[in-house]
């Protein structure tokens, strides 16, 4: 498998009235052809901004990609997306890299038929005429499992349920056979049963079409069955990166350990209380000098307060940004009280 995407030192800032928001702080990662990468983290940790920066979909102003390179493509085709002209990046958007978004209720245009919204990209990128695009749109809707697709082409988004709309979004994303599909929390706004359906659908389509996927979520449960590799983000930094089995079996960053510990398990005993990570992520306008997770970390030591650890390999394919060699068995150095973090 050859390299499809390489993100180097990506840094995105928002220049607001309250100050500069450090949304993404120099992240590096890569993705191979046909690979599925999950980016995990809680709300506001820079996951969405990180991927939207790739396609330059950040609202500018106030947002700006201030540093970094985004190499996309294979062989001679490799280009830095951040250096492309507006016309060139438009050729990539929806064509070679497609995106689906979190809320299918608001991500489709309410006053345009779904047939039109799907055909639009087909006519733009593949040069199809109206007739051909409509035919292809029907095929795509059938592909994502929308019953009576041909009849529903002229329906408007409000005539579909949430799950169906997300299927339409996926059909739209897949319309031009992209090499990379970026799914920005595609299941977050849906019912649990529908979540599983959508995840299964994407998995099936990936196996059929063979595109690479970046799947953004804060739900580690969804990731387990879907991803090859996982990146954990916190406060705009990547704190851990590993193959999915390795990450679940042997998490090495205190934040990842906390996240996994807060997952409810069916096989847990009654006495086993669901743990949580106390406190809130740091203010991205005023980032602490040391490790961004310091205030909430049960394993912290002195150096963590002043020095932000770099992402270093701890095992083949496993990188962690932590000053200590923490595992699940490591005893706490401090017990974080809820009150302490709030104050």
């Amino acid at each position: 498998m050859s390299r499809l995407l390489e993100v180097k030192g990506l840094e995105t800032r928002f220049f607001t009235q309250d100050g500069v928001v450090h949304a993404v702080n120099g992240i590096n990662y890569h993705l191979d052809e046909g690979e599925t990468l999950a980016i995990v983290g809680e709300s506001g940790c820079g996951k969405s901004v990180g991927v939207m920066s790739l396609l330059r979909l950040i609202p500018m102003p106030p947002g700006k990609v201030t540093a970094g390179q985004v190499w996309f493509g294979t062989g001679d085709d490799r280009k830095d997306l951040l250096k492309l002209s507006d016309d060139e990046i438009r050729q990539v958007r929806g064509n070679r890299i497609a995106m689906i978004f979190q809320d299918p209720m608001t991500s489709l245009n309410p006053v345009l038929t779904i047939g039109f919204q799907i055909s639009e990209a087909l006519m733009l990128h593949l040069g199809m005429d109206k007739e051909k695009a409509r035919k292809r749109a029907v095929e795509l809707l059938e592909l994502v499992g929308i019953p009576r697709a041909a009849e529903r082409l002229d329906d408007y988004p409000h005539q579909f349920s949430g799950g169906m709309r997300q299927r339409v979004m996926i059909a739209m994303g897949l319309s031009c056979n992209p090499q990379l599909l970026i799914a920005d929390e595609p299941t977050t706004a849906l019912d649990v049963t529908i979540q599983a359906q959508i995840a299964d659908l994407v998995k099936r389509l990936r196996d059929e079409i063979g595109m690479a996927i970046i799947w953004i979520t804060h739900d580690l449960g969804v990731v387990a069955g879907l991803a090859d590799r996982v990146i954990v983000m916190y406060a705009g930094f990547i704190v851990e990166e590993a193959q999915v089995k390795e990450l679940y079996g042997n998490p090495r960053h205190p934040y990842t350990i906390g996240l996994l510990g807060s997952l409810p398990r069916l096989d847990a005993t009654r006495e086993h209380r669901l743990s949580s990570i106390e406190g809130l992520p740091p203010d991205l306008i005023d980032l602490p000098k040391g490790c961004p997770f310091y205030a909430r970390c049960n394993y912290r030591i002195e150096i963590c307060a002043t020095d932000n650890p770099r992402l270093e390999p701890v095992a083949p394919g496993h990188k962690v940004a932590c000053h200590r060699e923490v595992t699940r068995e490591t005893p706490y150095t401090v017990e974080i009280e809820p009150a302490e973090v709030v104050a």
Binding site: L57, F101, Q102, S107, N109, P110, V111, L112, H158
Partner: protein, 331 residues
């Protein structure tokens, strides 16, 4: 859809009846009457007044006059004469020999319908509305896209002037500047058959609506710009022009469409001050004159036509609405 239209049309009857009643009460409680004498006009002596009152039925009790005007009454020969409900707006008291509908709707000899007083007013209203939309919507779009820029502030100043300065004040300034100082248009035109004399009244009349449309377009565009589906459209690789025209504008114009009806009605009916100031041969000027002359049937008739136009404009907006926004279904 058809049921909706029929029901709305039927609802107009009680509405117009209420309008007629209120107008009748206010009109008859105002002092004076149609045969009032004034120094510069021919005197009407008491006996003539009495016979005129009898002829026009003004000697009957007020309630009967109202019923006679709106629904109908039996005349002296014993036949039933249908009133406003049948489209009979009565004889004008001041323009002898002509009925109200004749004055408003009949064009001068050998001229098409749009040369009637009604036609003139409709034309002026439509031109003013066209001006308001053609200028207002693009100004609003630009102001929203260039949010907080110089262009945005310029549009804000224009809009504030347009909304806060009354049209008659604007009219005076316009007449002084363009007709007196610059001499570009005549103050009182001899003929309304050319385009030049229409410019000022249409501009003055449409200015407020233009300002309001610009503000409304700007506000709703700013709201639409932040919507997720605009991001989706960009993520598809669409050109910025397509994003704005196809994906933003259609959504942003929904609120604008809602004010279209009241605006058009306001422009057609609200023009009586402007029409009087510019000596415009429309319905509005005739209306203002008829009030001064206590031409009762003329006041009633014109008011009813105005009310009917407002109701019709609102109905048509509801119909347009269902085309612009597919989420709205009329029942």
């Amino acid at each position: 859809m058809t049921t909706f239209i029929v029901r709305r049309l039927l609802w107009m009857i009680p509405t117009l009846f209420a309008v007629a009643l209120v107008t009748f009460i206010i009109m008859r409680s105002a002092p004076g009457g149609p045969w009032d004498t004034s120094a510069e006009r021919r005197q009407v002596d008491a006996s003539t007044q009495k016979s005129l009152n009898a002829y026009y039925g003004l000697d009957k009790p007020l309630w009967r006059q109202f019923v006679a005007y709106t629904i109908g009454d039996v005349n002296k020969k014993g036949t039933f004469v249908c009133g406003a409900i049948c489209g009979n707006l009565g004889p004008s008291y001041r323009t002898r020999g002509r009925t109200v509908q004749d004055i408003l709707f009949s064009p001068p000899a050998d001229r098409p319908l749009w040369y009637s007083r009604f036609g003139y007013s409709i034309r002026l209203g439509l031109i003013a509305l066209a001006f308001a939309l053609i200028v207002g919507i693009p100004v609003g779009i630009i102001a929203a896209l260039k949010h907080n820029s110089f262009a945005d502030y310029v549009s804000l100043v224009i809009a504030t002037i347009g909304i806060s300065v009354p049209s008659f004040v604007m009219a005076i300034f316009m007449i002084v500047i363009f007709a007196r100082w610059l001499g570009l248009v005549p103050v009182v035109p001899r003929t309304w058959d050319t385009i030049t004399p229409w410019i000022l009244p249409a501009l003055v009349l449409g200015f407020g609506t233009m300002a309001f449309t610009a503000r409304l377009t700007r506000t709703s565009m700013l709201e639409v710009i932040r919507q997720d589906y605009v991001r989706t459209a960009r993520a598809k690789g669409l050109k910025e022009r397509a994003v704005i025209l196809r994906h933003m504008l259609k959504n942003a114009l929904i609120p604008v469409v809602t004010i279209l009806g009241p605006s058009l009605a306001g422009l057609v009916t609200g023009s009586f001050i402007i029409e009087t100031m510019f000596g415009f041969p429309g319905m509005g000027r005739a209306y203002v004159q008829s009030i001064g002359q206590r031409d009762y049937s003329m006041i009633m008739g014109t008011t009813l036509i105005y009310a009917f136009l407002v109701a019709l404009a609102n109905l048509s907006v509801d119909l347009i609405y269902s085309f612009v926004d597919p989420r709205i279904r009329l029942e």
